[in-house]
Symmetry: C3
Subunit: 257 residues, 3 copies
């Protein structure tokens, strides 16, 4: 840190199991990735190349190398997995992961219908090849999954081999964990946490109010995802109680003297 | 493309008459233009220097050269044309176009009152010098133009020499084609399309929901404009059915096996 | 300017007491700062490193040098001052200002409770060391300060030594001067202006509609702050009547012939 402030919440350090930040790259240039890592390299733990943007990004190999050189793992968004599955191209997908030397992958069913057994089989198979993040929750705002079902799905996916489960919110933060207004479905989150260890969950929380809500409930070291590259530094200050939104929250807890 | 996915909608290739993307540069630096073109150069067909930002941009000549070297034509936003017209400086405007070696220009009347005959004369005169895009629709949310009038205006402007007509939406996407909420005036769009060939229209659609709406109605190769530079890659995935929003749309149509 | 347009509102030039633009850097990389200054260096008068982002920004010294070399002063957001105060580290804060050779500082009480006498003492003390901007208004949307109190606080802070007083709006533009919807509390602003000279006030106005509102009320040379780096060029065009929003405003006033 650039100077000393007392009573700052303790932050997990890399490699982090808790308090990690997943950022979403939806088409950065090489130089933009370098700029992003210069500023946020210490605070970002993993980068998702959003949905299937990797299909059209011209600089893919080079970009992945820049992230790799900085020690930041990357993975392709779950929609890409689904795009291969819906076309019966699962083996092609596995080859693409090899071709680009990916060490992580996401398994999701946000845009298609898939029996949950089948999804868990994909998690198990891909876990032999890479570290798997699996995502629960639909991208369709009409599909409301009740809390007990979120828990059941998350447990099964972790048992099938998922490293962490992701709570779906999309880039916009308006489905899954959130109402269409962006408001958190707070009862849902609290019920999930009675059954699933909090370090196993990566909450997608692209909007500031959502990040604040999770940090107030779960502390500086909650895992948050779908963070825009330019919002990683702001998020870090929210985690540390150094932005108005959480300024009093940690002080009230820690009573600095 | 970086890997092979079956049953991807066929995309027009450059130079495109259909399916082209107009992006809006509202003050990028030289390096930001280079970054933008590195990533999106294959997907962007023309760049508008938004409204009269070219008046205050310090790096104008150099920036135009960077776009030119990449084979991407540029034009000044219609508000600049109007700023010259309202000051009785049309001849100065023509000289500015020459001075900066512009090959395209926009004629619009979004911020001033102009007889339509007069607008068509400007289109005709400028067509002798450059390729003209003309814009229909007011920037004033209070001014509702009925569908038959949109059609009449568009026809007259194409006859006067406009290469394409632009449906107004502003940078914010909340006027003209759209209600103040950003919702598409869908009856208006459908009625226009009964009379004007769809490749002759460039729809301003800065918001994702608007892009999705046009792509679902008119397909991957609809002409869309006012796209933020960082949204050109995301838009390309929406065109290809590779983002959640259009994921099922093209599959349902094409029944991949 | 790149070409000549008649009847453009006269703009104050640097160093400006009126019409200055404060931009907010919330974590730019060195190269992004260079890009920002290439484009907006002539139009931005001072840069705030938003709230306490300077605590976590890895490139702080270097970044401050880049701004300094371009002749743009910088200051740390008021939340950083408050973070030191709430921890009883005021002397440390003064040392940090020295360590980073800061020539400006902000005194605010947006996130904590502080007697106003005490706030004015901080303003007086820091004024011996740097030029002080002080901020009036809470970051808490629930705390509504009546107009007579805004005026009383502003007067006292200017008398205590503040160079300018800032009207609070946050990065989001939804508290203080603004309702939670972002709408301007216009009666409040007008009443303040009956008592405080307008060049002494820096209005935080991050949203375009807010910028437009202030420029229509107070002219091209109103002091505006919390402007995103990419919005400095667009703001400049709004000041000059060269964007749709203020296109007619200045023309109606000046009757160009």
């Amino acid at each position: 840190m650039n100077y000393t402030l007392n009573s700052i919440p303790e932050r997990a350090t890399k490699p982090r199991e808790r308090g990690f930040t997943m950022a979403m790259d939806k088409g950065l240039s090489i130089r933009e990735v370098e700029d992003f890592l210069e500023v946020a390299g210490d605070y970002v733990d993993i980068v998702k190349l959003g949905w299937a943007t990797s299909f059209v990004t011209p600089n893919l190999k080079k970009k992945l190398e820049v992230y790799r050189a900085a020690g930041i793992p990357t993975y392709f968004g779950g929609t890409l997995f689904e795009a291969f599955i819906v076309r019966n191209q699962f083996d092609d997908y596995r080859r693409v992961l090899d071709q680009y030397e990916m060490t992580f992958a996401e398994v999701s069913d946000g845009s298609l219908e898939m029996a949950h057994d089948e999804k868990c089989e994909y998690i198990a198979k891909l876990s032999e090849q890479v570290t798997v993040l699996s995502e629960v929750g639909s991208k369709d705002a009409e599909k409301i999954i009740p809390p007990y079902m979120w828990i059941k799905l998350m447990k099964a996916e972790l048992e099938a081999g998922a490293w962490k489960v992701i709570g779906e919110a999309r880039e916009g933060g308006n489905v899954g964990l959130f109402r269409s207004t962006g408001e958190v479905r707070s009862g849902l989150v609290e019920e999930i946490l009675t059954q699933i260890p909090f370090e196993k969950i990566l909450w997608e929380a692209p909007q500031k109010a959502q990040q604040v809500w999770f940090i107030k409930l779960l502390g500086a070291n909650v895992n948050l995802g779908n963070i825009a590259p330019s919002e990683v530094i702001p998020l870090e200050t929210i985690r540390l109680g150094l932005r108005g939104d959480t300024f009093s929250h940690f002080l009230d807890m820690e009573k600095p003297c």
